[in-house]
């Protein structure tokens, strides 16, 4: 079970680790929006995605995020990739122009569909890696503080912000505990002869049942104990609370925020220009090659 390493917080001390979590969330959203902007000329979109990829690699190097973890998690995406590819390639779309293979007068496979699915996968990879940078450089507790901070305005309409943040942080806190528990029960059942990796369908089903029921029982028991313990210590979610760790804004945050805003602003400017003034063909402008159509 310890191989679930994707996006797990790693206790290092890099620049990204020190940036305020609220700021990191904001920058993440800005970058994600910029990734999702699509331009008229496909080569421009692709080129900008390449720029993002390079930026991301720099970011991962700065944050000392393990590339191996990323590849491991991407490996499990192959099913999604094939699914997307099949959907895009075989479902006709009237906006496609470039024929790759024509079956008959009404049905053909288009190059555009490959580009579209490839582009979506690229965006997904970028999003996943960005999120991974966030979660592996920010403590889960800090993340929930940041969420709570962003939701504070909702308190005006009596939205239970604190309760939700508390639930979220408890859920995050118990993920490793439950993973340990799963590991323990799996081992206990393995010493009773359960083989989780082999056997027929019924045997595997039984194996999973022997894992899930004890896990649920202990999780429910744990939650009851936890709520009792919280009540015993006089926990009241409506009370005003103080923090042990205060989130502060430093020069690092200003640099990071400026970086995020610069990228977002730049891409947004290009996007508006592309849609309202004239189509941008970056390849044409930079390299003088016309690959757009």
């Amino acid at each position: 079970m310890n191989n679930v390493t994707f996006g797990r917080y790693s206790p290092l001390n890099t620049f990204t680790h020190k940036v305020d979590p609220r700021n990191k969330i904001l920058i993440l959203i800005l970058l994600m929006v910029s990734i999702f902007l699509q331009f008229h000329v496909w080569s421009t979109t692709l080129l900008l995605s390449g720029v993002f990829l390079i930026l991301l690699i720099c970011l991962m190097l700065i944050s000392k995020v393990n590339f191996l973890d990323l590849f491991k998690s991407l490996k499990s995406m192959w099913f999604l990739v094939i699914f997307l590819l099949v959907i895009y390639v075989f479902i006709p779309n009237p906006t496609y122009k470039f024929v790759c293979y024509r079956f008959n007068d009404h049905y053909a496979i288009y190059w555009d569909s490959f580009y579209q699915s490839g582009y979506i996968i690229l965006r997904l990879i970028l999003m996943i890696s960005l999120t991974m940078v966030l979660t592996s450089t920010t403590k889960p507790m800090d993340l929930t503080y940041a969420f709570e901070w962003y939701m504070t305005p909702l308190k005006v309409i009596r939205f239970p912000v604190h309760e939700i943040a508390m639930t979220l942080s408890i859920a995050l806190r118990f993920i490793p505990t439950l993973l340990d528990e799963t590991d323990r029960i799996m081992k206990a059942q393995a010493s009773r002869g359960v083989d989780f990796n082999r056997g027929g369908l019924f045997k595997r089903f039984k194996a999973v049942i022997s894992l899930i029921i004890p896990l649920f029982v202990s999780a429910i028991q744990r939650s009851e104990e936890l709520s009792d313990a919280m009540e015993a210590r006089g926990y009241n979610p409506r009370e005003k609370r103080t923090r042990y760790r205060k989130l502060t804004f430093s020069w690092r945050d200003i640099i990071a925020l400026l970086f995020g805003l610069a990228i977002f602003g730049g891409i947004l400017y290009l996007f508006i220009y592309d849609h309202n003034v004239e189509e941008i063909d970056l390849f044409m402008q930079i390299f003088g090659i016309n690959v757009g159509f």
Partner: protein, 283 residues
Amino acid sequence: MAIEVKNLFYIYGRKTPYQQTALDDVSLTIPTGSFVGLIGRTGSGKSTLVQNLNALLIPTEGEIIVDEFHIGNKKRKNKKIKQLRKHLSLVFQFPEYQLFEETVEKDVAFGLMNFGYKQNEAIELAHKALLSVGLDEKYFKRSPFELSGGERRRVAIAGILAINPDILVLDEPTAGLDVKGSKDIMSLVKQMHEDGKTIIMVTHDMDLVLRYTEQCFVLKDGKVTFGGSTNQLFDTISDDSAIEIPPLFKLAKKLKDRGAPINIENIKNAEDLIKQVNSWRKK
């Protein structure tokens, strides 16, 4: 020799920031039919060691020989793991959390059926195992979730006993049980030992170690710091180490120091000491 551990290393989270060496060059041998105690502080590697013994964890380096089975650090090369687990069974700490079936008898029979027994055969053996842990017919059809903690633990232990392994490894079998519960479990374990099984017990309770085990191994920071007879251990260690000498043994030692002809090697429980003192008084 039932078990031979040779230069065993086990490292958790290798090549990550969480890397931690749990076992550091552990070598030990456990003879067939012995009752062995495994002691050490929390985090000293006891549980890791016993999990290596039935291939729940694969050694990072080194090897383990359990009778005809061989466990090395290459996962693919370890064959017959299922047979190994039937030969050497592990009762986990707080085993009551592994119960899941609708009825007690089905839960005990579950392990047996995994090892290839037919259903009616398994249920029959399950009944036998349940009776041996002191749970009678009334319990067979009940749900394990409505039993008390002590009863649940007995069901879980019965689940392992029913498999009838030759080597039984118990990880803190008495933790969290009341006096009677722990006495019952221990007398059951003793019975199994007398039936010729090799018993390995991890525990923090030094009275149990003194009373039941013949040999013991002390682990500290993943290393074996002592291996030998239990009475010898209590005789040689100083008071300030992590291991607390049982009061009974301390008394015997004091008596001996004051010149009483007491054979420390034979003291296992209060009765032994009383017998020796009485025979001394008669003289």
